[in-house]
Amino acid sequence: MASFKKGLVYLLLSILVITQIYPLFWLVMYSLKTNEEILGSNFFSLPSSPQWANYKAAYKGGHYLQYLGNSVLVTTVTLLCVIVLSAMVAYAISRFKWKLGGVVTLVFLLGMMIPMQATLLPLMVMFKHMHILNTRWSLILPYITFSTPIAVFILSGFMRGIPAEIEESAFMDGASVYRIFRSIILPISVPPIMTVCILTFITIWNEYIMAATFISKESLKTLPFGVYTFVSQYNVNYGAIGAFLILGALPVLLVYFVLSERITKGMVAGAVKG
């Protein structure tokens, strides 16, 4: 009886593996088929001979490397700024004695409930006046601000637990607050900073709607927006579309393949602390 139950559970879990992974596997097959094979509606079949030409077409037709480069650049700058800025605020909130600390915390807490889409139109008008619409800053700046609240929470939560003795003794030795922050607090806080990096990376790397609203120059598009552009332009070359989707998913999948445990743990930590 017990083993029968166990069998049922394994069956259920295996079915879930199939439903979660088969669509992606199917897409890989799709990307390697000719148009005739795809339209032949034999969805289950494997490609008769892998059509790497689809990948060539996707690579040549869409500015893949350019999109990828833009995504890497925007994400890196955002990550660095988020870490520095939110660590500073988190330190001030969790360790300094000052009256307005609670208010500042509340301001960031409130920001977490605000839907990003509601700011799109005003931001676009603002950026136009500041002449940064259609530049990388029009992505990096809002990406930073929408990633800070959760970062501040994760980091300040951690910093609260750092024993005060460490700072006191450093203070005795004549270290300034800036020095303590740089040489003691930041190095100790590497684990939560990693969590923040993972959360921010996944959100920013996949962000689509701001990119599509604030950017129209081909040379500045990030990967998700680029994928969208490619798909809407090449709507008859099915194999190439599939190939471009795979290429678009590849970077984040590779990162996940290497860091899967870190990423899953980080995202749960982010959810639980948020």
């Binding site: 166990k6 559970v9 394994y10 879990l13 879930l16 439903t19 979660q20 669509p23 199917w26 897409l27 795809i38 339209l39 032949g40 509606s41 969805f43 500073m88 001030a92 969790s94 360790r95 300094f96 004695k97 000052w98 500042v104 301001v107 960031f108 920001g111 605000i114 839907p115 990003m116 889409q117 509601a118 700011t119 139109l121 005003p122 931001l123 603002m126 601000t145 929408f146 800070t148 203070f171 607050v177 800036y178 996944i202 996949n206 689509y208 609203t213 998700p224 927006f225 994928v227 599939g242 989707l245 678009g248 998913a249 445990e261 899953t264 995202m267 749960v268 959810a271 639980v272 948020g274």
Partner: protein, 296 residues
Amino acid sequence: MNVLKVPARTIAVFVLPCLILYIGLVFVPILVAVYDSLLDWDSINKAKFIGLDNFKTMLFHDTNFWPSVRHTLGYAVFSMLEIPVCLFVAALMNRYVRKANTLVSIYFVPVILSVVIIGQLWKTIYNPADMGGMLNGILNSLGLESWTRSWLTEPKIAMYCLYFVSLWQYFGYHLLIQYTGVQNIPTEVYEAAKIDGAEGFKADWYITYPMVIPIFKISIVLAFIGSLQAFDLVWVMTGGGPAHATDTISTHMYTQSFLSLKYGYGSALATSLVFICLVFTVFINFVFKKVEAKYT
């Protein structure tokens, strides 16, 4: 705790850069949106102050507004219904699978992909069979030809097709959260229960489920708030169509602001979206406070 007494200047150095950026790019735009919502303003004519007329239009004359609210709430309800299922699976996994981490990371794969890619993938899956759509292909090969349809262009079912994709994508996320919660229950509790004669599903019912309520709440809140802002997936897959059948509040707002270029009216919708999000966040936290008070 807060130990360091530092001069105000130092505090300013630490806090102001981030705070100014934050207020400037989050709060100022929201206030601007609230102000703009009181204007009759499009891309051509000069803005004119019209008070609350935009909201009147929204509530009483815009035939697409209430359906979009309904779709958004539907999104929220379906996403929340998924969480108990995730919890159930998580409890089973914890009991029957020794090293479930690999399994969990497999379920998690769709979560890390961009909605653009997920949306396009599922658009292809929902395609008619003669365009290579997988779903219709499966139905055909099972002899269920009468069930095949063009999933995303039939107003009555398009919305459910979108709900499903969302549930599919975030299943691994909520499963992982619930699994972490279940794992954190100390094994001694189960051992004690075993002595008292509670095992298997009985133990789940009396121990696992009550003890994960705090984690359960986190998933519910995330799913709920995420659904209220549902945008990307709908935008990528249907653009709110066919004939507004899949419009959510966000996509409706986006269409009005950026395609119809009704800046004033779009801002009114944006303001309502912020308002709805705030109200529901407070409401759901209130509900859970009651629930937690009852069970803990």
